[in-house]
Symmetry: C2
Subunit: 144 residues, 2 copies
Amino acid sequence: MHNTIIYEDPAISIEKEESEIPWLKIFTKAPYRELTDMPKELRDKVWDVYYIIEEEMRAYYKPKKINMASFANMLPRVHIHVMARFENDSYFPNPMWGEKLRDAELNLPDEKEFHKILHAKLAHYFTSLQTERRSGIPDRRKRC
Amino acid sequence: MHNTIIYEDPAISIEKEESEIPWLKIFTKAPYRELTDMPKELRDKVWDVYYIIEEEMRAYYKPKKINMASFANMLPRVHIHVMARFENDSYFPNPMWGEKLRDAELNLPDEKEFHKILHAKLAHYFTSLQTERRSGIPDRRKRC
């Protein structure tokens, strides 16, 4: 299976899940079974990334609701699913793992453009963070 | 419906979901649509609480995997599900919202005892945090 990677750095990667809805997965490069196996700093980074994805999905797609999940029962390697949900998607209001309720035809804005915007936001965020750490200016993550 | 509250303070409450598996839900007292609508400090607190629940569930029940999710599609009020999953539960390896695969009979350790331990851990954690904030000793959350 081909995985489309939207963003990566030495610690994490963000992959697209093939779906009718906007659906991304946050992986850590090093594998962990559970969130509480990760070092605190990496967990914080995963949530920073999650918040940026959630904010950008909300701004770009105006979804009815954001859904988030972490299961990894088959292969116990923790990763976070981020999904933009719409009232007329095939499963709403069920979770994407629940019963399919209809055959949806969603008319969503261009996905490639969204990935470009998201990549720029993440790159900018982590570059600013590094610069600020070097310069001693307070951590911008506080703004979240 | 009767909701069993395992823990609460002015900012959050933890409720038990009726299920064959250990399943708790973290709510904020103030309602928010999405995680990114919460103030940063409250989000951090929600994850601190989540990590304590995950750690205690792992220690007490020795589950095959922890599952976590946030949907709230029917009533858009964000809350976090924390579930201890077992290879022989009725849905494994599917998410609890997926297809039921068998009629499980789980033989789990006493739930009331778990709730007691968890309550004590949370109460201790937040009391220490307050004491340390007053005394100026570095925030113990860093240990996570």
